[in-house]
Amino acid sequence: MAERQKDSDDRMLEALFRPEVIPDDGFSKRVVARVRRRVWTRRITLPLAVVLGSLVAAEPVVSFLKAAVELLSTVSGASITPDWVPSSFTLVAGAVLFGILLTTLNLLEE
């Protein structure tokens, strides 16, 4: 408004539009509570998804790896044993550790 000359209409409109002060009444607390919920949700979403995903995928992944190793040994004629394929328990434990690591890094970052 300072960039132009105010006429009587401007003054009348400014008086009409004069902002009323709206009391906070816990509004800012509600917003901050929502923000904190969102921060926590984001913090745990990825680690939780990694753990849940590994729980679901561990068994099929292990089976697939074993089948792939057997196929490779049949095709190549070499004797490759699937001993090095981790068990589904190891995969899930690894995912849990990875999830904990992600959460810790998130916490340290913030």
């Binding site: 960039e3 409109l13 906070d24 800012s28 917003v31 969102r38 921060v39």
Partner: protein, 186 residues
């Protein structure tokens, strides 16, 4: 932007400090809520939109470049939130209409009950939505034309003409009222 706002924004950006953000909300909630109440004509809806606006502000604070006032940037976020909500309501009304539920369509419009309508609401009612937003930003929030232009993403020239047109509409509305009043008592 005031030094205090600048400091609070820096604290939020560097430490994701929710207390600093709470202080920013406390400082500006009245203007944001007032803007949305006048724009929507519905206090409860305006409160919901204000909460959503501050949530968007938390998410997008990194995009605030420090150019112009912080309240100008917040009102931009609030105006965008209002327009998005309006689009969703319109789509909802269209769907209801498509399935033949005409009665519920009435409930989705931004109108205030007749008994709550004040002088300012009557004036605002003669303006288009865009004129209303620009007039409120200019006269109630005290934003400059440049800041309104940033907030609405309209050229400064368009802002000036929207304000001019809004003033003309209000003036002619007043004249009509005065004329009717004089005629009745003449």
């Amino acid at each position: 932007m005031s030094n205090e706002d600048r400091e609070l924004v820096a604290r939020v950006l560097s430490h994701r400090d929710t207390s600093a953000f709470g202080e920013l909300v406390r400082r500006h909630q009245s203007q944001v809520r007032g803007f949305l109440i006048r724009l929507s004509g519905d206090a409860a809806l305006a409160d919901d939109l204000a909460q959503d606006s501050f949530m968007h502000a938390w998410d997008r604070l990194g995009t605030y470049a420090g150019r112009g006032s912080f309240i100008g940037w917040l009102l931009k976020v609030a105006y965008t939130t209002f327009l998005q909500s309006k689009r969703r309501s319109r789509r909802y009304a269209e769907i209801l209409e498509e399935i033949g539920n005409v009665a519920d369509v009435q409930g989705t419009s931004y109108t205030r009950p007749q008994e709550e309508v004040g002088d300012l609401d009557k004036l605002l009612a003669v303006l288009s939505e865009q004129e209303r937003a620009v007039m409120i930003m200019s006269y109630a929030c005290g934003l400059s034309h440049r800041e309104i232009s940033d907030a609405t993403e309209l050229p400064v020239g368009t802002i000036k003409s929207l304000i001019h047109r809004g003033k003309e509409k209000i003036r002619s509305n007043f004249e009509i009222k005065d004329h009717q009043h004089d005629h009745r008592h003449g």
